[in-house]
Amino acid sequence: MTLRARVSTHLGTLHLDCDVVANAGVTVAVLGPNGAGKTTLLRVIAGLVPVGEGHVEVDGVVFDDSATGAHMTPEARRVGFVFQDHGLFPHLSVLDNVAFGLRARGLERRVANARAHVWLERVELGAYASSRPSALSGGQAQRAALARVLVTDPQALLLDEPLAAVDASGRLALRRALREHLGGFPGVRLLITHDPLEAASLAERVVVLEDGRVTQEGSFTDVTSRPRSPWIATMAGLNLLRGSVGGTSFTIDGGSTLVVATDVTGPALATIHPRAVALYRTAPEGSPRNVFKLGVAGIDPEGDRWRIRLAGTIPLVAEVTPAAAAALRLAEGGDVFAVVKATEVDVYSI
């Protein structure tokens, strides 16, 4: 079973133009900054927003096709949508909420309630069956919302930032419940998040969506170790440079050159871990080949590693200990020499 969504639509200032494929049995995280069009993509798949130009299908069943004009109503799609704010009906008990989808599909109350109860037990909310949703904590409510869609046995599960509105205390139990039930769900699993941690802990595959377009896909490790966009690089805490390679020389778009050890040629991206950027007060002795005199643009103390933002011929972030920062007498506006070993530059072609 596979979900295919090719979407091209305008919504306000957003132009969503992407092609996403998700296979059953693999949790796919759509990762991207706020406003990238992630929620719109899910809403198109659920039938809540028109596809514009494009085609959406699950398991060969066409949901939308702009070429033929085909459009299936949201209620006809067998898609389970977990909303960011849980969306439990405030006027119904928790049990009636979970049974709602079954009742809507024509099941008798007794049968629907019995099945709903089973799922409430699975998400450890059996004791809250007759409570109102307002009696639940954020994490509990989101677990009830998860049970409410899973009980209907959908073909595809769409989760819109399920952890975002939940406070820290409820997050752990919810993440555990999500991991458990996503793992046990045989259909398509599409999870939307702007939090790389969430993607890392819940998804096997990551699709990066930025400004309405897919900028990268692959495993979480692939994506974060070899980011193809500044946003992912920042998320992963890496320096990302774009340029092109000729021999051992990587020319950054904009002029400066780095010496690298690679067999890649042509247009490429380079990442440097901030810890691999060494800082010196004076130009170092010997002959390190990548030396840049840069200005200190900012200092972000983060525990026992301080992140030093450098500006000049190449923009870099360096990570040093507070003691080293003190010894270097680093101050915003001052100059410093940054040294990067050729072997510490990871180069990959675009």
Partner: protein
């Protein structure tokens, strides 16, 4: 919270403000002063009062029922659809709020009177609206139903369609979403709108007397009975008793709706 600057009121405003309070309070006190408390219980259960009360309840409840049946769908469409000419329709529906009720009564008479096309058709089915109880109910509904529509539309607008969308993704078709989600969530607005509508229908005078007249037991509702006994037979005691009944009901409606209407001003 009032700020420190406005905490100390302008003395010049206190006098007119006090007059305003008295302006409302004095007539009501006058009414209460005229109540003959010793004969009140007997007055309340007298045939005249009971007949008018029963008729008023009957007509006003029918008026609320009519308003619910036609007003809820209209409020829903005004709030949730891109109905063409929505603004014009909303203006039209609001018109009875500002229209002199007597104009409403004359308009009803010219549209539904026995000699009009609609009146003729109705008569064919044995229905005569003018000067009948049904006519009184129709006149009350005409004046009162905007209260329901406006209250409910505002209530529906307060919530977006999120829960309807949730219901759709769970497989609920449009009618199920309407009955199981939209209506229950709008219940407080429907109740408030119906209460206001009922209070207005109960007090309706101008349109009712113009369209339905004042026949005791048939169209003479509480306000009309109060007016007739006061003006016609000069029976001030009965008029005061009937007024007291209407005043009590009005206060009760205010108390029931206090959180909705007065709460918003706190």
């Amino acid at each position: 919270m009032t700020g420190g600057v406005t905490r100390r009121p302008l003395i010049g405003l206190v006098l007119p403000a006090a007059v305003a309070v008295l302006f409302i309070a004095v007539p009501l006190i006058g009414l209460l002063a005229h109540v003959d408390w010793s004969t009140l219980p007997a007055q309340l259960v007298s045939t005249d009062v009971l007949t008018a009360l029963r008729l008023s309840l009957e007509c006003s409840i029918i008026a609320v029922a009519i308003s619910l049946v036609i007003g809820v769908p209209l409020a829903y469409l005004l709030a949730r659809s891109s109905l063409p000419g929505r603004r014009v329709i909303r203006g039209l529906v609001t018109l009875p709020l500002v229209l002199p009720p007597v104009v409403g009564g004359i308009a009803l008479q010219t549209a539904l009177g026995t000699t009009t096309p609609i009146g003729t058709v109705l008569q064919h089915f044995g229905v005569v609206l003018p000067f009948s109880t049904a006519g009184a109910a129709i006149a009350e509904a005409f004046v009162a139903f905007p209260f329901l529509v406006i209250t409910l539309e505002a209530g529906l607008r307060q919530r977006d369609e999120h829960f309807e969308e949730v219901a759709a993704t769970l497989g609920a078709r449009p009618w199920r979403r309407f009955w199981r989600v939209t209506i229950p969530l709008a219940a407080p607005s429907i109740a408030a709108g119906a209460a206001l509508c009922w209070a207005r229908a109960l007090g309706e005078f101008g349109a009712t007397i113009t369209f339905a007249g004042s026949y005791p037991g048939t169209t003479e509702t509480l306000p009309i009975a109060a007016y007739s006994s006061f003006e016609g037979s000069g029976n001030v005691a009965t008029a005061v008793t009937l007024s007291l009944v209407l005043l009590t009901i009005s206060i009760l409606v205010l108390v029931v709706l206090r959180d909705r209407w007065l709460g918003a001003l706190r």
